[in-house]
Symmetry: C2
Subunit: 404 residues, 2 copies
């Protein structure tokens, strides 16, 4: 008799952003005249940069002629893109990462969900709390997390590393030694950034304990301050303990274009096996490459014109971040993030729960944010706003919030 | 201490098509002057149809302006595409499939690899032998197949259903009752097609035993004969036992564009759980939608112009199939397939093994095909040629083979 994967039944409610979407849709239906401003989900609003549009059109034209038509892509991505990534994101920063250590994918969400597959089911996972839900949910689905604990509001066999006001929203090295450590810096949801020294401690810890760090650097393009590492491979020894996940969604507005990549250094070995060969096998067996036209769009991100245009785009969003950060601060809110990240993390006023504040904000200011509790137990009492709206909407949203 | 997923270590050699690619590359390097004709991997060669190119350009232009820019797609696919699929592929054929039973993805390879995740690890899997390797390999990776048996050349805990000359390359209902049954018709690799009555037997069997059929209909556009079902939902009762996988790779040349979909009827329940809700959860958690521009390309497949242009494209490939089929038959080969499918399945001459014939063909005719044994033990002694080349190359390849 067919059985289903019972681990799925341990998942709590539906995926955070689907829940928000449903709530907002219901509110809009009940209040059709109201102009709702969405600063919730981390979706971008600026159009693709001109250099990327040109590259996409050219690639589409290539697909129209037999001589230049492209079928199945190389399993791990086209060399033109892998070379551009290796040079610009790594070698130019002094990090020794080769093109064949880069695996091009359809985005960091897929990669961050799939990467756990190459590990045994007996590994203990450590995550920040609050955390991007995909890391935990995909480990729940695989059966690595134990049962859901309704009292604690999380899973029995996961090591949660609290990120709180007290520790500046930066996790501390866990006492119980984990096998897999998910880290994301600049952080989603808190917007916190880690210094190079801070990250070096994690690399040293992983190398000492034999743990593997899965490092999500999706927001690196927003880093403004010196001494904040853009990649974990800036840290000495990271090649023997870290996998890095990267996205084109936030640095180039590819949320609807879908492109990302994962770096697995060839030295990274556990249990007598090179993780590079396992991930290559997974990629080759379960994935058939990102679309050619999308990989050409990715290449344009690294062209001189692309770089200049995207720098402007990121400055645009970071001006929003500043508007939110300062506007809320002036209105008396306790805020963090927003300096090296497009996320602003605020403490809910008057001891409201995160969802109470969500409803309050939607009702009073018609602004949508993301409840911190949706990211984990230690996110309770916090709330995330994103800088990805338009400048005009962002300004209006903050004015409305200030007047509440 | 970190452990790896040891099931990966049970996988034999590297992925079939990577092995072929390496062999061909080595031969070409040693014989740089030789014109190799590739009729091996199932990759298309005709450019995208004009209607699809126009739709892609338009969608790219939409991405260039804030008013029409699209970020994250709806989890399960855009409604415009799901509606077009439901109407054209199902409702117009009299099959009751609703748009919200369709899950748009980046291709049938991903879906056929990922679908097993929603089932328990204790399910027994049945596959045709020979078979598309992804079905088996992804179950190996999950740990559902037992150990590799070097004597039999396959896995201990899988039910292999031999598809041989004697049974016309159509599997028989297995004596040992499986939980998950993978079927692909028109078949890859053999090109065999099943009649509606034949498929109805499988649907009845699954409904009687409680098994679930995972039905891969990637090649349905090549069906020429009456009474060959285009979808499993033409069979009565399929809504309570079958999941269908579909691809745009072969009907519209999207191998490098990446688009596919999976149908999970809402009635399909096992172990007290709706499979629709499990797959929706998987899709929402580990995938972030196919690119907007690609989904617009998919929509164009169903436009009147798109349909007319793609019909021509498929006729082009099917003329190749005929050239191969008849050319080989006239040259004295024993051949099947090629009538409702773009694949021709031939018996190797002189008791050669499949890989011996691969080397022989590469050496003597400079033609690349796919060794039948790469698809399973019962593929030994057979060889697959595809109709996806250009007409000129296909003709030349068959002339060369006839002269060997």
């Amino acid at each position: 008799m067919v059985t289903v994967n019972k681990n799925y039944l341990k998942l709590q409610g539906s995926y955070l952003f689907s829940t928000i979407a449903k709530k907002v849709a219901a509110y809009q239906e009940a209040n059709p005249e109201t102009k709702i401003i969405r600063l919730g989900i981390g979706d971008v609003t600026q159009p693709l940069a001109p250099a990327i549009i040109t590259s996409l059109h050219n690639a589409v034209d290539e697909m129209a002629h037999a001589e230049t038509f492209r079928g199945y892509a190389p399993d791990l991505g086209y060399e033109f893109l892998r070379n551009a990534i290796a040079k610009n994101d790594y070698q130019d920063r002094g990090c020794q990462i080769d093109a064949d250590e880069i695996f091009v994918s359809d985005g960091a969400k897929s990669d961050s969900g799939n990467i756990q597959e190459i590990f045994g089911l007996d590994n203990k996972v450590a995550v920040c709390d609050p955390v991007y839900p995909v890391y935990v949910d995909t480990n729940v689905m695989a059966g690595r997390t134990g049962e859901y604990n309704p009292v604690r509001g999380n899973f029995d066999d996961v090591i949660y590393m609290p990120c709180t006001e007290e520790n500046g929203f930066l996790p501390e090295l866990p006492e119980e030694i984990p096998d897999l450590i998910y880290l994301c810096f600049p952080n989603n949801p808190s917007g916190a950034a880690i210094t190079k020294e801070g990250l070096q401690e994690w690399v040293d810890y992983a190398n000492k304990t034999g743990a593997v760090i899965i490092y999500d650097a999706a927001y690196e393009a927003y880093i403004r301050e010196e001494n904040v590492p853009h990649t974990i491979y800036e840290c000495e020894g990271a090649r023997t303990c870290a996998i890095e996940l990267r996205s084109f969604s936030k640095n180039a507005g590819f949320t609807g274009v879908r492109l990302g990549f994962t770096v697995v250094p060839k030295e990274l070995e556990r249990d007598g096996v090179k993780l590079h060969s396992l991930w290559a096998r997974r990629h080759g067996t379960k994935f058939n490459g990102a679309p050619y036209i999308v990989q050409k769009a990715g290449e344009a991100v690294y062209s001189p014109e692309g770089k200049a245009q995207l720098k402007e785009q990121i400055n645009y969003y970071m001006r929003n971040a500043q508007v939110i950060y300062e506007g809320l601060k002036n209105a008396g809110y306790s805020v963090s993030g927003g300096v090296n990240a497009p996320y602003i993390w605020l403490k809910t006023p008057d001891q409201m729960t995160s969802w109470e504040f969500f409803d309050y904000l939607l009702e009073k200011a018609h602004v949508v944010g993301t409840p911190g509790s949706g990211f984990g137990a230690h996110g309770e009492g916090f709330f995330r706003l994103t800088a990805f709206g338009t400048y005009e909407n962002t300004k209006e949203a903050i004015e409305r919030i200030a007047k509440m």
